[in-house]
């Protein structure tokens, strides 16, 4: 048992934090939200130069073949910086889907480009009226000569306007669900902006008779179900790590502020009410750290991790927002202002808590795992 990062992960974590402190201070996040650019391309490029995009991609496709645990080390550092680039969509969601699929030709084509930072992709899974899971997919994929024709509407597609490909799911009559990578330049695709709280530049994606060749099919039928379940698992763990990075930072800046800020002739951190807020935050951050670590470890080891992932995600999603709100409470009025960074973490935590399953969704999965 070793509940710390290993040596390589400690180095990775330190260098990621150092890089992001220098290259992704909060003004970068603010500039990105105002910019017409979908994401800061220069930041993306320098992250790619660090080799981050290939962290979980196998060596034969140009990656460094790290584990899901290694991936969460990077994501945690990014969560503390609210990094405004499509790393999660490209590397975590699409990278994992491709990596786990048996679409070898497509993997040859896309994975090296992802690893090199030359390809950006996003995922389009939620449909109007739906939230999570695969029970009510309305988008259709009609089989035609050499491929499929996709029609339907997808929502909450992050960084869609900057994506080269979309990972999506549709129903094939007689065959069940099918997972595709759809070229963003295909005719019949249109995007409509749907701004959300966390500045992630989300879009509605309309697929109007979009042709997709067989080469871009990742999985179909039962394989599609299990592929998307595996993608959900890795993505949920990554979102836990992102929340963890954010809430550890919120705890750190709140404790620092409580030591500095003086009222009634003493640091407010000397007041028991503030101390107990901080203690509660610390306990929740630690609890979330080990639940996330356990989930990431099990996934990395290839062990059954359904229960652990859902425990980690339901817990992190709940405490993430709670911790941010305590952070606001400790910082007082200034944290209600745009110029202060607290709200960046509140936004990020709320968005991450709803991505790939909210607390209720994952609590129900835990209940199923308990045999209920």
């Amino acid at each position: 048992m070793n509940l710390d990062f290993n040596t390589e992960q400690k180095i990775l974590s330190a260098s990621a934090k150092d890089f992001l402190t220098k290259n992704c201070a909060s003004h970068v996040v603010r500039e990105a939200r105002e910019s017409a650019e979908v994401y800061p391309a220069a930041l993306w490029k320098s992250m790619a130069d660090m080799g981050w995009m290939g962290i979980a991609i196998s060596e034969r496709y140009g990656g460094t073949e790290g584990s899901v645990q290694d991936l969460t080390v990077l994501i945690e550092a990014m969560g503390a910086a609210c990094v405004p680039v499509p790393f999660f969509t490209t590397v975590v969601v699409c990278g994992t889907a491709l990596q786990l699929s048996s679409a070898d030709k497509l993997k040859e084509k896309l994975l090296p480009a992802i690893a090199a930072g030359e390809l950006v992709s996003s995922y389009a899974l939620i449909e109007p009226g739906n939230t999570y899971g695969l029970n009510n997919i309305q988008t259709t994929a009609a089989a035609v000569e050499g491929g499929y024709t996709l029609s339907g509407t997808k929502l909450f597609v992050e960084y869609a306007q900057g994506a080269d490909y979309f990972l999506t799911v549709a129903n094939v009559e007689g065959a069940g669900l099918a997972v595709f990578m759809v070229d963003a330049k295909s005719s019949g695709i249109s995007l409509k902006s749907m701004p959300t709280l966390d500045y992630s530049k989300q879009c509605e994606l309309i697929l109007d008779h979009v042709s997709v060749s067989n080469d871009y099919l990742l999985a179909i039928g039962d394989e599609a179900q299990s592929l998307l379940n595996a993608v959900e698992q890795v993505s949920a763990v990554a979102k836990c790590a992102e929340i963890l990075g954010a809430i550890q930072l919120v705890l750190d800046i709140s404790v620092t502020y409580a030591k500095d800020r003086t009222q009634f002739n003493q640091p407010i951190g000397g007041f028991q009410s503030i101390q107990h807020h901080c203690a509660n935050m610390a306990v929740d951050v630690d609890s979330s750290r080990y639940l996330t670590g356990m989930a990431a470890w099990k996934v990395s080891q290839g062990l059954t991790a359904t229960k652990e992932v859902s425990m980690a995600k339901s817990f992190a999603s709940k405490v993430g927002v709670r911790i941010c709100k305590l952070g606001h409470q400790i910082h007082g009025a200034i944290s209600f202002c745009d110029e202060h960074d607290m709200h960046l973490f509140l936004r990020k935590s709320q968005a991450a808590s709803m991505a790939f399953g909210d607390p209720e969704y994952h609590a129900e999965k835990v209940a199923q795992e308990l045999g209920l």
Binding site: D4, V255, G269, H276, C278, D286, Y290, W297, E308, A363
Partner: protein, 403 residues
């Protein structure tokens, strides 16, 4: 991170689990009535049960497990804190009597003597503790010294080869059944309050000690008021140096918080509740299908997992000689608040049936929920209140100022 037991730990886990399954009577798990595990000694219903418990503890001692993490030269096994945690977890899961997690002598006083006792003191006390030949109670709280333990007034005054004790202790759990106490006493009335106290081992049979039972919320005689009236204690019973008591107290409290968690008991109690829900209907439908029941049980299961992870984390840090200040207090807060939460959830799920006591044939799960509802009130108060734990996390852990 790596959450796997190593080969030695795994082998120990399996050997211990097998031992517990074969040595305890098959229906033993239905006997203990503490929520969710036995803090000290479970009240037993028959002489026969006492005999079973006694002979079981003897077997644990013979195995060398009663003091497994003590050094070998003191009768221990030199096991790691992770292995100690495995022991505590399995013992509490099986609701086994007399694990060191239920023993103040082996869980707290023994380890303290090994740290701060003189060689003579170790020779005098350690073998008896290691062989489970003496039981102890904790003499900390007084009527005016609860969370503020530095305010103890019970005094010890030197008189020749002895100290003479006068004063009163309260909330003295199990004192009426124990042989000795581990008592904190004022030895210098002039010094600042934290600098004038010392630890003593006090014999319950010493003349001048009288006890009055205090019945707890469940009607059990668990507490006592203990009065010391010119009690003469040999000087060699002062442990860890005169007026040094508070230096050692923090460590003693750390041992208490870690060894008395009994995390396996939470898992076991939760499994009992889960089995009940899976096999019963409510208002004509299976309880397991009720969405709020599913959500509540999922949340408790997650909190139990957190308890486990914090236990492993604390043990692992101790094995690395790191000071788990935040972690041991976090473990205490999380596990004791979980005791209340789990009772609350069980009560909500069972509805009106949850309130039934064991006299009713309608009471579900051995009436454990009505007991647990009351019993778990003590968890967040004893061994340092949740508020004190949060102060420790904030001040010792996060470095916030003590004003």
């Amino acid at each position: 991170m790596d959450f796997k037991f190593n080969a030695k730990e795994q082998a120990f886990y399996e050997e211990l689990d097998e031992f517990l399954t074969s040595e305890l009577p098959a229906d033993w798990g239905n006997k203990p009535v503490r929520w969710p595990h036995d803090y000290a000694e479970s009240p037993m219903k028959s002489e026969e049960d006492y005999e079973v418990a006694k002979s079981f503890i003897k077997k644990v001692v013979d195995k060398g497990w009663f003091t497994i993490s003590w050094p070998k030269e003191y009768g221990g096994q030199g096991y790691t804190n992770i292995e100690q945690a495995i022991y505590d977890e399995r013992m509490s899961y099986h609701r086994a009597p007399g694990g060191s997690s239920g023993s103040i002598a082996a869980g707290i006083v023994g380890p303290m003597l090994l740290r701060i006792g003189t060689l003579e003191q170790q020779k005098q006390w350690i073998p008896k503790i290691a062989n489970a030949e003496m039981t102890m109670w904790l003499g900390y709280s007084e009527p005016n010294a609860g969370s503020d333990l530095g305010a103890v007034r019970t005094s010890a005054v030197e008189d020749g080869d002895h100290y003479v004790l006068n004063g009163q202790k309260c909330w003295s759990s199990g004192a009426h059944k124990a042989d000795y106490s581990w008592m904190i006493v004022r030895t210098d009335p002039e010094a600042r309050k934290h600098q004038g106290v010392s630890f003593f081992i006090v014999d319950n049979k010493a003349p001048g000690i009288t006890m009055k039972p205090v019945y707890n919320i469940l009607g059990d005689h668990s507490f006592n008021e203990v009065f010391m009236d010119d009690v003469r204690i040999p000087k060699e019973n002062l442990i860890g140096g005169k007026n040094k008591g508070f230096y050692h107290l923090m460590k003693a409290l750390d041992f208490e918080r870690i060894t008395l968690v009994g995390i396996g008991g939470f898992k076991r109690m939760f499994e009992e509740l889960l089995d009940y829900v899976k096999s019963h209907d409510r208002n004509g439908e299976p309880m397991a299908k009720i969405p709020s029941v599913r959500a509540k049980l999922a949340e408790i299961a997650t909190k139990i997992e957190v308890g486990y992870l914090l236990l492993w984390r604390t043990a692992e840090m101790l094995d690395r000689d790191q000071d788990p200040n935040v972690e041991s207090s976090a473990l205490k807060v999380v596990s004791t608040e979980l005791a209340r939460d789990m009772a609350e959830v069980a009560m909500e799920i069972l509805g009106p049936y949850g309130q039934l006591t064991e006299e009713s044939e309608w009471s579900p799960i051995r009436a454990m929920v009505s007991r647990g509802f009351l019993e778990s009130i003590s968890a967040t108060i004893g061994a340092g209140t949740s508020e004190i734990q949060r102060n420790i996390i904030a001040q010792r852990g996060l470095g916030l100022p003590r004003v």
